[in-house]
Symmetry: C2
Subunit: 323 residues, 2 copies
């Protein structure tokens, strides 16, 4: 397996990528192609099976679609180009979502039958389960055909990456009854209902996403982005309130000490970083978007996620299931 890594998108610099790559490469015999400023990537130069490719440009967080043609020697464009040319089988990048979306759509192209890619994230849910959620914000406006395509991709990924035979698919809506929602939801509901192979469980609400009762939740990119960040914000709010209460008295501080393992296990369960980045699904090659704020562990998990996508040949399987 050969993986491409855009090392230049991290909020806190490329050392995080260096550390993650070192950990990852020890566990396998893959070839890793790391694109970025060679000075910053010095630490990888003597690592076996790691190839540092110096790039003179950097895709900035403010860069969008237009920058793709301008920044041909950016680590992001170079890495995607090499995936397209077969040098590597897939790519991880923590760079600007807009630029990554544009560059990979332009260079790798969407799969036949998919109009636009979707960001798919795997979130922790009740009873130790996880849920695949898409689109988390690749688009800001979608049609019902897009949403049906998202459902197909989500289903394929749940089937082939998580080995769920017949994933339960839900449409995120403002009520669970059949005819709920705006025109987009009503149309999408009808279309999803008609696809025989689908285990479509109907409309699900915001409170059902993490219930563990649904495997794939489909929504438009605008709502998906609001909802994803609301989950993050609410989790952070509850944890910070919990911390405050734990520090509020002498007795509670003692209790908190005894609970250290339990609380750190809670923190782990809620730690979205552990679940890797987001898969930019619908392209002809696997693309993983890591958080710009990732630490070395989070970036390592994003690499693991790309590894899984390549190992399971998910692109070919999505294609097959689309027919």
């Amino acid at each position: 397996m050969k993986l491409a890594i855009d090392a230049m998108g991290m909020d806190k610099g490329s050392q995080i990528v260096v550390d993650a790559v070192k950990r990852f490469i020890k566990e396998n015999d893959y070839e890793l192609y790391v694109y970025g400023n060679e000075t910053e990537l010095e630490g990888l130069k003597s690592v076996e099976r790691v190839h540092v490719l110096h790039c003179t440009q950097v895709m900035e967080m403010t860069d969008g679609a237009l920058a793709v043609r301008r920044k041909k020697d950016s680590s992001m464009v170079r890495a995607i180009d090499d995936v397209n040319n077969g040098v590597a089988d897939g790519i991880v990048s923590a760079g600007s979502t807009g630029a990554l979306l544009s560059a990979s759509t332009l260079i790798l192209k969407t799969i036949d039958g998919i109009d636009r890619p979707a960001l798919l994230g795997t979130l922790p849910a009740k009873n130790g389960r996880t849920v695949d959620f898409l689109d988390m914000g690749a688009s800001s406006e979608n049609t019902s055909d897009h949403l049906v395509q998202f459902a197909k991709m989500g289903r394929a990924l749940a089937k082939y990456v998580k080995n769920i035979e017949s994933p339960k698919i839900g449409l995120l809506n403002n009520g669970s009854e059949d005819k709920k929602g705006d025109l987009l939801r009503v149309e999408t509901f009808k279309k999803l209902k008609e696809i025989e192979e689908f285990n479509f469980i109907g409309n699900v609400e915001g409170r059902d996403i993490l219930s563990g009762e649904v495997d794939v939740v489909v929504t438009d990119g605008f709502s998906g982005n609001l909802v994803l960040k609301t989950i993050e914000g609410t989790g952070a709010f509850v944890m910070s309130t919990l911390k405050e209460k734990l520090m509020s008295s002498f007795t509670s501080k003692i209790g908190a000490l005894l609970l250290k393992p339990a609380l750190s296990s809670l923190k782990n369960t809620l730690d979205y970083k552990q679940y890797g980045g987001a898969i930019l699904a619908g392209l002809n090659k696997p693309v993983v978007k890591a958080h710009g704020s990732s630490n070395a562990e989070a970036f390592y998990f994003a690499l693991k996620q790309l590894e899984k996508a390549v190992a399971n040949d998910v692109v070919a399987k999505i294609k097959r299931d689309l027919v």
Copy 2:
């Protein structure tokens, strides 16, 4: 003060309303008008200043707009009628949101300058603050003019109920930059920016809602509903995971015992019931929607919320601020 109460919308029956009314009436000298099945409300008959008005019909949870004209003797329609006729100053109902919205819009009418009502909820936020969030789902599709009206109402309520001199208003969007979002957001952003009296802080993301950094968050009813239920669902998920971890070992169980007061204080902070129901803002009289799943305490807090709205004469103040 005279308050109308629709007693027939509770998931678990009217006894909850009976208990809440008994607690509430002890604290003041108001007249309460309680509409519903008199047999179920037997417990209120001998309570001073409580008037039970027998109704032969019940608005069901599946009832929507059409039922309003058919069920003229339902507790909901009767109560709203009496508010309209001046028998009472405002109403609390836990009945079907759709029916309550239709009935109150039809009978009480929206304020001049407001095209449609919005559901406004007050949510707990960081640092002991709260945030007013609207529309939580009165509409399923909105225009930018609606969103501007929501901002005006949210601002007035934050000003006059919470005494915040210049409430910080945020537009919920898929990014914090100025030109983010779909057409609706871009249009709304422009219009909000132009209103001089507004302390408009720009776009806010899902993760900012509970940050304590914003007083009023405005969004369309569809997104608002998704986001609100996501907050509830994520809170429930974190709390259930916490519980599971606390019970996972002997040491953690001891720790949990020591933490009992801290944990119940956490539960209290997160308990949305304590923050009352939602205000159906934009009508000529105060209307509070309580949760159908409320217990007696939650319904009591919904009554407190109506009391505040009436005492502060919020409808007149919203009207004044709209000019």
